[in-house]
């Protein structure tokens, strides 16, 4: 059974359409990420689920119950805010116990639950402190503990890691995922960080301009994006227009004409039309000793960036230096390729994928 269901939710602020026909489901214990650029409506959607905004049309169901007239304070949700929103005048213990006090729990029960929740996020030593006395990472944990203490069915995360440094972000990311698995709550997690979304989620919902572009598992979103926006947002994508020359749907083999000349594609999913966008990921190209061969081409090197574990090359097909074909190739480790070199790369037929987006 779905814990959360949203059907065709639309919300406008004056002339601005913040949410445009959003439909979404989340099962119990599922980790769902809302991924998209700033202003795409993901936080608005979170606030609609929490009850801070009421959609103009459509419905929000929690446990099959329509939430239209249910106030935020009466919903079985808890939110982790981007700014943490800790109560500055209350100690860590009082912050964690705030929701329990509202539920009129006995003081001894509150103390027990606070101690138990604080232990789960390693905050026992900080219970008497005020939020201002804690580091960013500790404050983030308090916000998490405060949400978890009330044992909600749905925890809503609004970019909770955006104020943390990179190392701490990785650590807290793992902790959130572990806590979510051990508590079994449904998580709706807003982020614009694709790595966060792909690494943590069971389901990723990619949003753009108030609409859902695609919903799927991290694998589906990364390897089978529906359009150029999703392909480019969840990772670097080298997009090519392709014309289908030959197709054999029984074997899934296709021959296309593109800026790289004639190429072969092996795809279990057929193209949506004869003129379709295709893409390949930067890590899908491999160095080749030969300049010609099936799906092997020579690329001009525009720039080389050493990133530690890999090298990133800005490349373009020979004779095509226009912006549209400024692509990216990633190679593991350091290598001797320099700016201005011409280098052969081959792309396996199953690494070039059709987008479900055609052109005229």
């Amino acid at each position: 059974m779905n814990t959360l269901e949203i059907h065709n939710a639309t919300l406008t602020f004056d002339d601005f359409v913040a949410l445009n026909g959003i439909s979404l489901q989340a099962r119990k214990g599922q980790f769902v990420s809302l991924l998209g650029p700033s202003g795409c409506g993901k936080t608005t959607l979170l606030k609609v689920i929490a009850g801070f905004y009421t959609p103009d049309s459509g419905e929000v169901l929690i446990h099959q119950q329509d939430m239209h007239h249910v106030k935020p304070e009466h919903r079985d949700t808890a939110m982790c805010f981007q700014s943490y929103a800790l109560f500055p005048h209350l100690s860590v213990a009082e912050n964690i116990g705030f929701g329990l006090r509202q539920r009129k729990m006995a003081k001894t029960d509150i103390d027990d639950r606070v101690a138990q929740t604080a232990a789960q996020v390693s905050l026992n030593a900080h219970l008497p402190k005020l939020p201002a006395q804690l580091s960013g990472g500790q404050q983030q944990r308090v916000a998490l503990a405060r949400a978890l203490a009330v044992r909600p069915e749905i925890v809503l995360f609004d970019e909770p890691l955006s104020n943390l440094d990179a190392r701490l972000r990785d650590k807290v990311r793992l902790e959130i995922r572990q806590l979510q698995r051990s508590h079994g709550f449904t998580a709706i997690y807003v982020t614009h960080d694709r790595a966060e979304a792909l690494s943590m989620s069971d389901v990723v919902v990619v949003m753009n301009a108030g609409k859902i572009e695609q919903t799927g598992t991290p694998d589906e979103i990364y390897y089978s994006p529906v359009n150029r926006f999703v392909a480019g947002f969840v990772g670097q994508a080298n997009v090519m227009k392709a014309r289908i020359l030959e197709s054999d749907s029984s074997t899934g083999m296709y021959r296309i004409a593109c800026v790289l000349g004639e190429m072969e594609i092996h795809s279990p999913v057929p193209p949506v039309s004869d003129k379709v966008y295709t893409f390949w990921r930067p890590e899908d190209a491999v160095l080749s000793e030969h300049s010609s061969g099936k799906n092997t081409r020579t690329f001009g090197i525009g720039a080389v960036s050493f990133l530690g574990n890999l090298s990133e090359l800005q490349v373009h097909p020979l004779g095509h230096e226009e912006t549209e074909y400024q692509w990216c190739i990633q190679l593991v480790g350091k290598n001797s390729i320099r700016e201005g070199d011409n280098v052969n790369f081959s792309i396996a037929p199953d690494k070039i994928r059709f987008l479900r987006e055609s052109y005229s």
Partner: protein, 288 residues
């Protein structure tokens, strides 16, 4: 630079601004105290005496005036803050017309108290607009006494009208400083309106509530103009009471100094009690 040296430098830098204020205040307090015990006298050789204190403390009018002024001060302060808090909450976030509304509410700041009192008389006097309106509408058969009423209700209304904008200004700032996400977090955790008011809004704005209470109380306690125009005729306010004495004789200044010291003491004690009471009420509410 070491912390101690830096602190000294800071003190030296603020001294030109702070010193005249402190010196003037101390001078006034010391002069009033000295005058009240005869050590500073306009009409006789200076000598220490408690005679003026004895005279004033034995005057029943002093106690009536003190009680009346304290009552006006406390009620005006509490009412102004109680009305300003929801208004400040309402005006916390901009909405169409909020600037106009905020401007209208602050308009009394631009009207002098005495002018306001005179205008107010047009409303509440025996033949004022309210009585005329009520008579014409047939709601009353003869005018109601609202001006110079024995309870000082007219004065309290004037005080609240005049002082509410100060409270609004002070509290608006502190309420705006509470981020929306704090309110949302409280709601999200199950806090209803009362819980949010008692457990979030009041604790986070208690200092501005205290400051508003103290400032309005002190202003209303020492009120003269509203009292003269709209106050009851059966009882003096402390400010009115002070002015009686210099007219009697040269020694009247010493008697007035005693009342001035009592007024200062009442202002100090009343302000401390009100601030403490506000804090206590906030803590009691938070514990609910």
């Amino acid at each position: 630079m070491k912390t101690r040296n830096r602190n000294r430098l800071c003190w030296l830098l603020v001294l030109p601004a702070v010193a005249p204020v402190i010196l003037t205040l101390m001078l006034i307090v010391i002069m009033a105290l000295a005058q009240s015990v005869g050590l500073f006298d306009f009409g006789a050789p200076a000598h220490f005496t408690l005679q003026y204190w004895q005279t004033i403390l034995n005057d029943s009018q002093l106690w009536r005036a003190t009680g009346y002024s304290l009552r006006i001060g406390v009620i005006s302060a509490v009412l102004s803050v109680a009305l300003a808090l929801p208004l400040a909450l309402w005006l916390r976030k901009p909405f169409p017309g909020s600037m106009l509304m905020g401007g209208l509410l602050k308009a009394p700041l631009m009207v002098h108290g005495l002018v306001a009192a005179l205008l107010f008389i047009n409303l509440i006097s025996w033949q004022g607009f309210i009585n005329l309106g009520l008579l014409k509408l047939g709601i009353i058969s003869h005018p109601i006494r609202m001006q110079n009423d024995r309870w000082g209700i007219g004065v309290i209304i004037l005080q609240v009208w005049k002082q509410l904008p100060y409270a609004l200004l002070i509290m608006s700032g502190s309420l705006r400083a509470i981020g929306d996400e704090i309110f949302n977090a409280a709601r999200d955790l199950g806090a209803g309106k009362t819980a949010r008011l008692l457990q979030i809004i009041l604790p986070l704005s208690i200092q501005s509530v205290q400051v508003s209470l103290v400032l309005i109380f002190i202003g209303a306690l020492g009120d003269f103009s509203f009292q003269v125009v709209a106050g009851p005729t059966s009882v003096f306010s402390l400010s009115q009471y002070i002015l009686r004495f210099p007219e009697i004789s040269a020694q009247g200044w010493n008697l007035a100094a005693v009342v001035a010291v009592i007024l200062m003491l009442a202002a100090f004690v009343g302000a401390v009690v009100l601030a403490a009471l506000a804090k206590w009420l906030q803590q009691a509410g938070e514990q609910r």
